[in-house]
């Protein structure tokens, strides 16, 4: 079972520069849809890669779906050679994204984030309009329902804000 708290705490305590995207970002904004993994976009500078290795190392990360015994070293060299990693850890599943379709790398996405606090941890989460744009950019039919939910959520948020301003 994925512990979102443990994963977020590990990243935050190691001061990893990351942005929450995907289903958990939707959940933080109010989507009712369940998700079973944590998706984050991470900064690719050398210092951040070292922090990321240190943060997840104790959780024994391994390539999700890979056959047991496949050699996998969790170190900065591996991160430098790759970009996006779908991992399973002792705290559950996490997707580390060096770039996202429609959003680019961490630095490009950063202006489209807000700070949120959950489990006593402060982290950055992509804004709801940008999350919708990212989901739209992937163009996957399996996301249509999720996009519709996020767009309705945005309508409801704006409706609530305009009511509050009346």
């Amino acid at each position: 079972m994925t512990s979102f708290e443990q994963l977020l705490r590990s990243l935050a305590q190691a001061r990893v520069d990351f942005i929450v995207v995907g289903g958990i970002a939707g959940g933080l904004h109010g989507a009712a849809r369940t998700t079973y993994d944590l998706d984050v976009v991470y900064a690719r500078d050398a210092q951040n890669l070292a922090r990321l290795v240190g943060a997840l190392g104790p959780l024994d990360p391994y390539l999700r779906g890979a056959p047991p015994g496949l050699p996998f070293r969790w170190d900065t060299d591996t991160l430098v050679r790759g970009l996006n990693f779908t991992l399973t850890t002792s705290a559950g599943d996490i997707d580390l994204l060096g770039e996202v379709t429609g959003g680019g790398p961490y630095e490009n996405l950063l202006p489209h984030t807000i700070e949120v606090e959950a489990f006593g941890i402060t982290c950055r989460c992509v804004t709801l309009p940008k999350l919708i744009a990212l989901k739209r950019a992937t163009g996957r039919p399996r996301d249509f329902d999720a996009i519709a939910e996020l767009e309705v959520l945005l309508e409801e948020q704006r409706r609530g804000e305009s009511k509050a301003n009346d």
Binding site: M1, T2, S3, F4, E5, I24, G27, L28, H29, G30, A31, A32, T34, T35, Y36, P111, H112, T113, I114, V116, E117, A118, F119, C125, T127, L128, P129, K130, I132, A133, R136, F144, D145, I147, A148, E149, E151, V152, L153, L154, E156, Q157, G160, E161
Partner: protein, 62 residues
């Protein structure tokens, strides 16, 4: 969550997504909007935990 500083993004309506919107339960979303982000994440965590327990129980029964 207010988004005061983030650049605005134009999201022109997509006819396919508009069709999907008809099936979205707005009442459910209005309830989650009453929660804080922390409460929403805790709720997600609780659902994942419950699902794990149910799946374990189903496996044991099979």
């Amino acid at each position: 969550m207010p988004e005061h500083t983030a650049p605005s993004i134009a999201l022109p309506p997509d006819p396919v997504i508009e069709a999907y919107k008809k099936d979205i339960d707005r009442t459910l979303l209005r309830e989650t909007l009453k929660l804080t982000p922390a409460q929403r994440l805790q709720r997600l965590q609780d659902v994942v935990q419950t699902m794990a327990i149910l799946r374990g129980a189903a496996r044991r029964k099979a």
